[in-house]
Symmetry: C2
Subunit: 479 residues, 2 copies
Amino acid sequence: MANNKKMVEAITGRDEDFAKWYTDIVKKAELIDYSSVKGCMVFRPYGYAIWENIQADMDKRFKKTGVENVYMPMFIPESLLQREKDHVEGFAPECAWVTVGGQEKLAERLCVRPTSETLFCEHYKKVVETYRDLPKLYNQWCSVVRWEKTTRPFLRNSEFLWQEGHTIHETAEQAKEETLQMLKVYEDFYRDTLAIPAVVGRKTEKEKFAGAEITYTIEPMMHNGVALQGGTSHYFGDGFAKSFDIKFQGRDNKLHYPHQTSWGVSTRMIGAIIMVHGDDDGLVLPPKISPIQVVILPIAMHKEGVLEKANELKASLEDKFRVKLDDSDHAPGWKFAEYEMKGVPVRVEIGPKDIEKGQCVVVRRDTREKIFTPIENLSETIEKTLQEIHDAMYERALKNMQEKTHVALTHDEFLQLGKEQGGFIKAMWCGDSECEDILKDETGGVKSRCIPFEEEHLSDVCVCCGKPAKHMVYWGKQY
Amino acid sequence: MANNKKMVEAITGRDEDFAKWYTDIVKKAELIDYSSVKGCMVFRPYGYAIWENIQADMDKRFKKTGVENVYMPMFIPESLLQREKDHVEGFAPECAWVTVGGQEKLAERLCVRPTSETLFCEHYKKVVETYRDLPKLYNQWCSVVRWEKTTRPFLRNSEFLWQEGHTIHETAEQAKEETLQMLKVYEDFYRDTLAIPAVVGRKTEKEKFAGAEITYTIEPMMHNGVALQGGTSHYFGDGFAKSFDIKFQGRDNKLHYPHQTSWGVSTRMIGAIIMVHGDDDGLVLPPKISPIQVVILPIAMHKEGVLEKANELKASLEDKFRVKLDDSDHAPGWKFAEYEMKGVPVRVEIGPKDIEKGQCVVVRRDTREKIFTPIENLSETIEKTLQEIHDAMYERALKNMQEKTHVALTHDEFLQLGKEQGGFIKAMWCGDSECEDILKDETGGVKSRCIPFEEEHLSDVCVCCGKPAKHMVYWGKQY
């Protein structure tokens, strides 16, 4: 059997070969399968269930702020994409183009959406007439396509799943507020749902989104010290409105350009979950999005009463938790390894001796700690344990991020840290993108991650050129 | 303001011009906007919220039968699509083709999925090894593209949203059972959630899905007597397995071909909701999927205590129902018309006099019946009223379907009914598809809808050719 074979080979050690360890988990936890189109993945049931749980949680957070879901077409006519100059320059090189529809060559080729700003603008132009129609706070969950040369499961797919919020406002202030509010939603979600700490802040001019005035970003650090751009929130000013000629009648009865934002996170988040929390035995899933929160494993299943008791436990827990009882005839050792690989936060073992004593054993995935608990307290124990797991996962990730964050005061320090240490580097910067280019070249890929909201004053001069410093910046390599 | 203008013009009468009435509702209830790509629609918040409610309800029904959700790539390489002969013949003529990715012409062109049988087969070939891996019961929610010449909102879009279930089984019996089970899920959903009655049964050879051995269908009737193919469930036998070389090791240790099914419903269902239930004032939404179930309208809003009371009512209802309080400064008459257009099942009016008497007024969208109810009973009254609305909507639709279903015993009767009456025709049939062609030509479009599970014996001979009859068939024109 496929499954049995699988569990015999162990996966690559995390500290031995991080990239191979990652790919092993993606495959052996049955998250993804490759398809015959390069860079396009099959999200298998376990991988997709993680995404469904992420969606459900995040969608509630969006709707609480007044956001409504919509669905835009997946095709963008080339002329529509070209309406905003910076935007098209950023995206046209990696578009997939439909040129034939039915049996006929199309008069104008259609891009499969890489992002949908242009479609939202086209729609807003039609439905926004006066200030009373503002704001519109729209979001869509969909897939987008970016024709990537090198692809990696979850991290860089030619097609991936995401949400893209697009809002339009009466004033610049309201749009800026929305941009920051959604960044905050992402930050809360990463911390409270995914147990992932991150640095947040503003992107430099060089790194911001094509067409944006300001791009905010959330940057979690993977276990190996590499950053992942975990989500972005863009303020567009009235640039798109001008390109698409969207105007509204203001409170002063005059015509004005509205102000826009967009913000998005994608299935890369699943990559972050793997690389922040996973260990040598596989996935370690944050309890709040784990497809299975509790797996019940009956021990000595053939003995009288064991399976009945296991079913009883399941029935008593499943109103409150996502529970699976595995009563298959695999050996307990196989099952232990299987659910560890799949990152299930809590395993409950119940055997004849436990039943005699009126107890069962709760085992934590993250620490392997065994907790003996009276059966009548099981539900409370699990609830408490899931919260403790969440908190401990966050703390471990935070500690890792802190340990791998270093200060560089001089150019030499920066180069040494960038080449040898990995992780985040905090360093002062003059504001010139040329210095970003130089530092990137010299270190083989260290880029500015963000200018945090609260900057420390590390020194007076740019770590690269020695001119007066304008900002403290987080730097690091990225996926 | 756009909204004010809108409510002044009435919509076209339903019995005056059904097609125009339909388009008016789609637009004025703000369900859909057109995009610049022909046949691709924008699902606006109100239209998309209906789809979200449909998804949530249906997804629960699927999962209860053991179905798991997945996500397959949106692109199908041309060679993969061509693996099953009948299938490619059915779909290739209406595919959209990606021929350029990034800056380069692709070596092989990619079809934007019109349906995903081929992708599921490619995946199943990799993950199915023995009978222990069966069944796989997968479903995906996604959009698909079919390059249609003539398009109509919801009914025939170039891109539409749907779910497609794809399952693979050890035996033919299990696959057939699954096919029927999912048809039953659709039938239950139409009846219990959408309040829509329908005829169900098997498609004739001529009308079945490209590549299927058996196609089952659910066929509701619109108010004007025209049928809509509301959902289909296909049994493939081992045809796809053979084309894709999918084999599994059976209980007898020999290799066998598995048996497959697929089944789907789409956003056309929203078209059915409009055309089955709507009236001259707009949408009439089934309570279970209505984005707003209860709208609270304060009367004489400026009077002391009215708004407070309205907010109190809202707070007391929103745990149980989807509630909106409209405290905008539009006139009550405008609001009445607006929420009637949007098909909100129940409107609650509360004014100073009502407050004095400790009562409020509950108004049904479907019948306009006014129910005066003590405020302390409001929640119970609404719950009861929503159920009564659902039941009454179903009964009205059933009555319409019954009144517009006729028996044809002779060729002449068939032609007369087909040309003059519309609706369903019940008539005997010899089993020959040539007779289907003849009847379609003679009547300007009447086709076989299905062979119902319980056939009546109307006569001994085919209504077309007079040869011995094999089946009783439902016939009718379709969208």
